[in-house]
């Protein structure tokens, strides 16, 4: 059976966009304020931060890993950019140094996993504690101001759309293109898919494993800088609430924990979906409890829908998913 090119089937990574359109439709009917201009403006910058984080998390998951240190690195990045900018007097230098340090933090994660052989959850749990500690020591427990120029940039809009959103789009598109089109991307996917085969065929597998944690660290750094810039200051707890959403976005986007294939575009779609879902629940007048409930159901449906044939067989034809 041939799939016609002009009418592609809904692949495993296509579902999320259908879901997103359906959700927008549901908002239009049930909670129009959720997709009103004011709501979208307040939502987009935070959605962009989540997208940036989730892209990093996706890369790690594609290498059969999981990064529990994401919240700590985001927090650290906000504080570092404040510190480095103050030290060097240049926001640009601050951003570059922050990305460097956070990339190195990611590389530390990768080395513990690929070289020492600690399971990813435990390794990043431990380094997460270390990075949080460093963040606290750096800040002395209080908030640090972000330089006005970085603030202005993070809060700016171009053609009516927040600049942060463009940053997220650029990152998603470039990571996606690199993974799809380059030799490096192909090797990256191969190592995640079957590390033993990749090694037997002459790939330096540790390079790709460690590299993915490193690049993820840089993604978190950009997210952390964006978040701190948008809020205007960096706090030692800024990133705490981002661990679970970053994993949830990967899961809902459809990148499997078994490694290899994945889609940062789908992850980005899932990050938008989850943010809009939150917004819709709020607009309907429900609180954080219902937000969490909706997210949990979204995860279960997202995972089940891709296994629909097997699940249907298992339940003897009953296809109820809630």
């Amino acid at each position: 059976m041939k799939v016609r090119k002009n009418l592609p089937a809904v692949g495993e990574f296509g579902w999320i966009w259908i879901a997103f359109v359906l959700l927008v439709g549901a908002c239009a009917v049930l909670a129009p304020s959720a997709i009103g201009l004011a709501s979208v403006y307040s939502m987009l910058p935070f959605a962009a931060v989540l997208v940036l984080l989730a892209v990093g998390q996706t890369l790690v998951v594609q290498q059969r890993g999981l990064d529990m240190s994401v919240a700590a690195i985001v927090t650290l990045a906000g504080l570092l950019v404040a510190k480095f900018t103050a030290m060097t007097g240049s926001p640009l230098a601050g951003v570059v140094l922050t990305c460097g340090v956070c990339g190195a933090a990611g590389i530390l994660n990768g080395l513990l996993v690929a070289r020492i052989g600690i399971s990813p959850i435990v390794a990043t749990l431990a380094t997460g504690a270390m990075f949080f500690g460093v963040a606290r020591i750096l800040s002395g427990g209080s908030a640090m101001a972000i330089s006005p120029s970085l603030q202005a940039l993070s809060q700016a809009r171009l053609l009516g759309v927040p600049v942060l959103f463009y940053v997220a789009v650029v990152l998603v598109v470039s990571v996606s293109l690199i993974l799809r089109m380059t030799i490096v991307g192909r090797r990256f996917i191969a190592v995640g898919s079957n590390i033993a085969t990749a090694r037997a065929q002459g790939t330096r597998t540790a390079l790709y494993q460690v590299g993915s944690y490193g690049v993820a660290g840089v993604c978190y750094a950009i997210a952390g800088i964006a978040l701190a810039g948008f809020i205007g200051y960096a706090t030692p707890t800024a990133g705490s609430s981002y661990l679970l959403p970053s994993i949830a976005a990967v899961v809902v986007g459809g990148t499997p924990f078994t490694g290899g294939k994945g889609s940062v575009v789908a992850t980005a779609g899932a990050a938008l979906f989850m943010t809009l879902l939150d917004q819709m629940v709020l607009s309907l007048g429900a609180g954080p409890a219902m937000q969490l409930f909706a997210q949990a159901i979204a995860i279960i449906i997202a995972v089940s829908i891709r296994r629909l044939p097997e699940v249907a067989k298992l339940m003897g034809g009953k296809k109820r998913l809630t």
Binding site: K2, A126, G133, R186, T197, A200, F257, I300
Partner: protein
């Protein structure tokens, strides 16, 4: 006594996609008889034994054990007294030798767990009175020979009436071979029927009464041993010439500069190997498994470390890793496609072009058109049966997979191609095609090294064959000597018994072994706790006071309890993120039932409700993971959010003060020690006793250690998972009850920090996320350590930041030490 059939296989056929593995095979084993089963690799011996053991269902025919039809029912086969000693022992590495034997026999034969070690040691001594295996040691510390002996002792412990031995002497030293033969003779005197499968014709001749020869899935008849000479057997195994399968060999040209010259290469499992290959030459490597041919190849391509000199076209090259050798044009294809030969989840196109990406890329960017065109061309010219180049390679038949992989290698413009078992799992049509492709590529000047256990294949395509034994090349056959019978006889007559490995243990090894053991985490963690306490004690006089110690232990109780819950799941290789919110939910539920002036009946309802919550959450997690097949992380993340939302609906903000009398009960102290912490410790000790001294605990650990081996031992995976998830949630609810002593109010978020802390405590205490390891006392000590770090840093006036850094460093160091040590021990 009339002739009695122990095992009877009648007219069995089995078809795998593209090939007949067995065709109308019949044979039987009489009481008191040793029946040899011989044939080349792929002749169908393993399939036949799989069917006899009930693991495989035959397409046609029937199997009976002691007169009862047992087709395709492994439990019935075992119950009727058939035991198999597999070439790859089905042992659970994290369990002790005794525990493996214990689980390996049927329930009514098992001793009381307390007597298990003595019982197992006795069985081992029956094998060899001076045996060096300690029944109490873990199996992962045993080498291949010892594991095989354990597997045999396990099979004998069940006092089988039919014993199947699959290549039993492959891993044995000569004195053990003699011992095995003695035991076999003793068994047959008692009327046991023995099936003896082996490559080694001499051994079969010396032990078997009758022999059945299999060739290409068909029986060549059962014969009385004395009626056949060694030559007759070889003739039956090889059969008539099958030359038409193979392409015509090119006559080798005169000596040129060798393409590849290996001089004195040594490494793990092979030593001092020297070989040279001409351009366009096909060199075969023959020899029994474990005699060095595969080990040599692994060293040559850089998968393992090796020493020696390798030159390619006269230039010395490095063989430090596969990237180096592949870049030089040495391409390797593994013999086990699924493990490290192909990317099963990726497409035909991606698998085909992986080695030749540079040729379809410009500036690092792959041209999709060029790539698809090349893959499409390969699909056509190799006649690969696939719906398209975007089809997942894993969904193709073995022959088509292999064609894609070989086409991919040849597209990368290689100089030397090394293929291990080029036609394993490949149907006859594809086989002919692959031989032709290799011959054609050789004509164009590419050199090949072919590793194969099929002598006919080597004879058919190779110009020269090197035979490995004990890690060395013992003979080289060239020209007319390259025939199937010459190769078989060279392999069979080469020294067979293995060399005794020198077992001198150095102090370093001892230390590594200790660190890999069950006690290391307990001793290490206790040591760190005491050291921290000592340092805090001399730095701050207020640390070593009943008040401060009591306060610390109060904090330990809840964390220790939930860490024990996490430990239950980690034993089976799972993880539960929802424990924290479940503790929060516990506090919320309690805040409705345990408030001031509530009657006893209401409290009773509260307790019942807590129990119901524990069971329901456990079942929910299990249902998401097991029947629904979600990854444990995803499943328990979803549960995390669900529980949190339920708690927040019930208590949007912290409310519902718990009755002070109740809180006092939870916070009761015995002298200065909080009873809750003592309770957690006692519980941990009791659960450890169950874990290591009860059948259920051993099963749980065995399942976590190696699920497939556990299934062979009759352990139900679904039940084990259900038990673990419900156990974990029940302990988490209990931890929530202990936590209420600190919180005192219904707070949905109060437990959230416990999720990560419980994981940290369990792994510091020795749990492994891969399952099978750790203990509840370890989890308790892990919890104590985390709390100790928190408390001590306060006494030392360190800030939260330093506390957090210290905690992270400690987790990394502890876990790195255990995991390194465990890896090193297993590798040894």
């Amino acid at each position: 006594m009339a002739e009695e059939f122990r095992l009877r296989v009648e007219g069995v056929s089995k078809r795998f996609p593209g090939v007949w593995a067995l065709r109308d095979v019949s044979f039987d084993v009489l009481a008191g008889e040793v029946h040899g089963l011989v044939g080349e690799n792929g002749a169908g011996k393993s399939t036949l034994m799989g069917i006899a053991s009930g693991a495989l269902a035959p397409d046609e025919g029937a199997v009976s054990v002691n007169g009862v039809d047992v087709s395709a029912d492994p439990d019935l086969v075992r119950a009727r007294g058939l035991a198999i000693v597999r070439q790859e022992p089905a042992l659970m590495p994290d369990l002790s030798v005794a525990e493996n034997i214990y689980l390996g026999v049927s329930a009514e034969r098992r001793p009381r767990p307390a007597q298990m070690n003595a019982w197992a040691q006795n069985l081992l001594r029956q094998w060899d009175p001076e045996i060096a295996i300690d029944a109490g040691q873990r199996v992962d510390l045993m080498n291949a020979q010892q594991r095989f002996i354990i597997e045999i002792v396990k099979a004998l412990a069940g006092e089988p009436t039919v014993l199947v031995l699959d290549e039993p002497t492959e891993h044995m030293m000569s004195e053990d071979v003699a011992r095995l033969f003695d035991r076999i003779r003793a068994l047959t005197r008692k009327g046991v029927g023995v099936v003896y499968i082996s490559h080694r014709i001499r051994e079969v001749r010396s032990i078997a009464d009758r022999v059945t020869v299999l060739r290409e899935g068909q029986s060549q008849g059962s014969h009385a041993m004395e009626s056949l000479t060694e030559k007759d057997i070889v003739a039956l195994i090889v059969g008539k010439a099958v030359d038409h399968e193979f392409p015509k060999k090119e006559v080798q040209r005169t000596i040129q500069q060798p393409r590849l010259q290996v001089t004195g290469l040594s490494g793990e499992g092979f030593s001092d190997v020297s070989l040279s290959i001409q351009p366009g030459e096909i060199l075969g490597l023959a020899g029994m498994d474990g005699q060095g041919k595969r080990e040599f190849v692994a060293g040559l391509v850089g998968l393992t470390t090796s020493r020696g000199n390798v030159t390619l076209d006269g230039v010395t090259i490095g063989t430090g890793n596969t990237a180096q050798t592949a870049a030089q044009g040495i391409q390797y294809l593994s013999g086990s496609r699924h493990r490290d030969g192909m990317f099963g989840d990726l497409s035909v196109r991606e698998n085909f072009s992986y080695r030749s990406l540079l040729s379809v890329a410009r500036g690092g960017i792959v041209s999709r058109e060029a790539e698809s065109a090349a893959a499409g061309a390969a699909v056509r010219s190799y006649d690969i049966k696939t719906p398209g180049v975007e089809t997942r390679i894993g969904s193709l038949s073995g022959g088509n997979q292999q064609k894609v992989l070989i086409a991919g290698i040849l597209a990368s413009d290689p100089k030397v191609v090394i293929i291990d078992e080029p036609t394993q799992g490949v149907d006859i049509g594809a086989r002919v095609f692959i031989y032709q492709a290799i011959a054609e590529a050789a004509r164009s000047g590419i050199s090949f090294i072919i590793v194969s256990s099929d002598a006919g294949e080597l004879a058919g395509i190779c110009h020269r064959v090197a035979v490995f034994s004990s890690g060395h090349v013992v003979s080289e056959l060239g020209g007319d000597e390259v025939s199937e019978s010459a190769i078989i006889s060279a392999v069979l007559t080469s020294g067979s018994a293995r060399k005794q490995q020198d077992g001198a243990a150095r102090l370093g090894d001892q230390l590594v072994k200790w660190f890999a053991g069950n006690w290391a985490p307990l001793v290490t963690v206790t040591g760190i706790i005491l050291a921290l306490g000592f340092y805090a004690g001399i730095s701050n006089e207020f640390y070593l006071t009943p008040r401060s110690i009591g306060g610390m232990l109060t904090l330990v109780a809840a964390l220790a309890m939930v860490a024990c819950g996490q430990q239950v799941l980690m034993l089976i290789g799972g993880i539960d993120l929802s424990v924290g919110p479940l503790m929060g939910l516990t506090s919320v539920v309690m805040s409705f039932f345990f408030v001031k002036d509530m009657p006893v009946e209401t409290q009773l309802v509260g307790w019942l409700l807590l129990l119901a919550v524990a069971v329901m959450v456990g079942v929910l997690n299990w249902a998401l993971v097991d029947p629904l097949g979600m990854h444990p992380m995803m499943a328990t993340l979803a549960t995390f959010m669900l529980l949190q939302s339920v708690s927040l609906v019930l208590r949007p903000t912290p409310m519902g003060m718990i009755d002070f009398d109740f809180l006092d009960t939870v916070n009761t102290r015995w002298a200065f020690l909080p009873v809750a912490a003592l309770l957690a410790l006692v519980l941990a000790l009791v659960m450890d006793a169950l874990l290591f001294r009860s059948g259920l605990g051993i099963k749980l650990r065995g399942f976590g250690s190696r699920a497939d081996a556990a299934r062979v031992a009759g352990i139900n995976p679904r039940m084990m998972r259900l038990l673990a998830y419900v156990g974990c949630s029940t302990l988490s609810v209990a931890a929530g009850v202990l936590m209420i002593g600190q919180v005192g109010i219904g707070d949905a978020m109060s437990g959230n920090d416990y999720t990560l802390a419980s994981i940290a405590a369990a792994v510091v205490g020795g749990a492994s996320l891969f399952g099978g390891r750790g203990s509840f006392v370890g989890a308790f000590l892990g919890a104590l350590l985390i709390t100790q770090v928190n408390v001590v840093t306060t006494f030392l006036n360190l800030t939260d930041g330093w506390r957090s850094v210290l905690l992270g460093v400690m987790i990394v160091v502890a876990v790195a030490a255990y995991s390194r040590a465990r890896k090193m021990v297993v590798a040894a």
